[in-house]
Symmetry: C2
Subunit: 347 residues, 2 copies
Amino acid sequence: MKGIRQLAEHLDISIGTVSRALNGKPDVNEETRRRVLAAAEELGYVANQSGRSLRQGETKVIGLMIESSKETVENADNFFLGVTSGLQSVFARHKLDLVMLPCPSDEDPHEYLKRMVARRIVDAMIISDTQRVDRRIDFLSRAKIPFVALGRSLSAANFPWIDLDFEGVADHAVERLTARGHRRIAITAPSSEANLGYLFVESYRRALERHDIAFDPALVIHVKSSEQGGYQAAHELLLLEERPTAVILIYELMAIGLYRRLMESGVMPGRDLAVIGFRDAPRARFLQPSLTCFRISLYDLGVDLGRMLLANMPAYRDFYPGGERNIIWPLELMPGESDAFDVGAMV
Amino acid sequence: MKGIRQLAEHLDISIGTVSRALNGKPDVNEETRRRVLAAAEELGYVANQSGRSLRQGETKVIGLMIESSKETVENADNFFLGVTSGLQSVFARHKLDLVMLPCPSDEDPHEYLKRMVARRIVDAMIISDTQRVDRRIDFLSRAKIPFVALGRSLSAANFPWIDLDFEGVADHAVERLTARGHRRIAITAPSSEANLGYLFVESYRRALERHDIAFDPALVIHVKSSEQGGYQAAHELLLLEERPTAVILIYELMAIGLYRRLMESGVMPGRDLAVIGFRDAPRARFLQPSLTCFRISLYDLGVDLGRMLLANMPAYRDFYPGGERNIIWPLELMPGESDAFDVGAMV
DNA sequence: ACGCACTCCGTAAACGTTTACGAATGTATG
DNA sequence: CATACATTCGTAAACGTTTACGGAGTGCGT
């Protein structure tokens, strides 16, 4: 099957009518439409996207940009695939397709993004891993490309984003730990410029203050968010003169390395040191001891992300009226054994 | 910047010449080419892909199709992102872009694939998670769409693929275990129709035979390839009347759940049961005990995958002469503590 | 002076689709 | 019966790019 022209000839109908029939336009006889659809099905005709895009100026494809930097590869998890499912469930209703755009590690994310939209590969963008100042946001806003960000940023005053409820997580974690007598609570943070790490530590600092605990910079351990980083974090933790009794991890798989290093020194997580993890963790409960962890409903997050994006696209705006422009996404605590350590008993 | 026409007017040059200049065609004055490139850079002109694709009949985009089924999400790892880096390093040389196409879990992979190529979103495809009989391979061959498969299949006699060296892995693992006196060696396998699981078990069976060990179907544990599945596998393992002394895991993260379940019953992995894992595992060494595991160089695998694909595309064939059509990819053993259990001492 | 080859560039057609416009037909209205 | 309107369809232009073709200019050998 070549194109719409062959289909039209086969039906002995003009090409324009065939197009209207396929696209559900009103001014076409229902009988004709039936015949066209049947023939298209039979001959396996699918519209050439290039021709359509050229004419309409839109590709019907949404891009989800992801980093494929070395560190991302190392700590890769189900995060994006989970979100993807939710996104697709929304996009499918509008015959929009989703492609994931992995930015090569040796290319500047900003340049990569520009190239993708300039080539008209996608109509709209979902960006993630937002930096504290992120030129991509500037660019997309200025170029009036519809987009949503997974993560806040300082780069623009008002743009659509969904971010995680760091404040709630930190508060919940600190509350839970102080209730068990903990006063020296460490935290891990990435060394990158990702806004996530910054917000995470800031929320932690404020949560401490609310519980009348002085913030000690020495308790912020800057390591990579991977098993390797967890190992390193435990190592640095054990070297501190006044050793903390609890630690909050920014990424749940870090617990693997952390546990390992602790046990090498005879320190038992959950008994000698309380550990709380962050982000999605169906696997957390299989660790030994099982990890107390905050989890995210990735699918639902994807759904909201998709809706928010479409609400910002003129062609689909009407389907999603009155949506918020920003969402702070709540996380749910999954209690485990890793924070069972009760300091109160020792005091 | 609208299009090439505006660029041409701005330079007071014909549109055809501008196009030739940009595309490196020979019949254009070097001075003119310099001016054009400078102006394009200055005005931020990038060719509209839709127009170009329509004219040339190709999109310059390669698709990497991945499953986003529930199970894939659960055990998602760095696999695809790791391969992606290698792929992009090859594609970049030819100004080809890579997009990842996540097949929605509620859509038939075959239909999804057909839709993507029919819409001309990509020129060529890399498919993964091949099934024992996989209609996608049939379709792509027949439609003469260039493609490479990550994984063998029975669906076509001769198509380009790269697959893992299951035979080598199984042989190496069984060899290593029997050298330490093990005779009852269990293995985990997925319950799906994925060819990977089938080949994995078959290789294991043949490796046993080569070492004069009878194949016992009861020792093939069908569980999901996730932490949860590992937990389940350990559970079933402990119920066997004649308990095996070793187990081979098809996916390294299963070790987390497996360890947990074993310890719950007081069985110490590495001391009471030897464990060997499979597939990439920078994280394996942080488990407690560290996991003996076979690792893959994902980047290099991606490079070969990319080369093999381009060798099958007429436009790029000349750059990659004489490449093999099929590659069995070797894996490297990373020794750990999990298989230290020596049965010989007990006999 | 002529023909020839070579370099460089402009012209226009083509890719497959959507859509504004108007034509043709049928039907209701005055 | 003339007019108005609704329904259905065909015609042709347009989207932005590449490229076959040919033309203009230049240099060279005869």
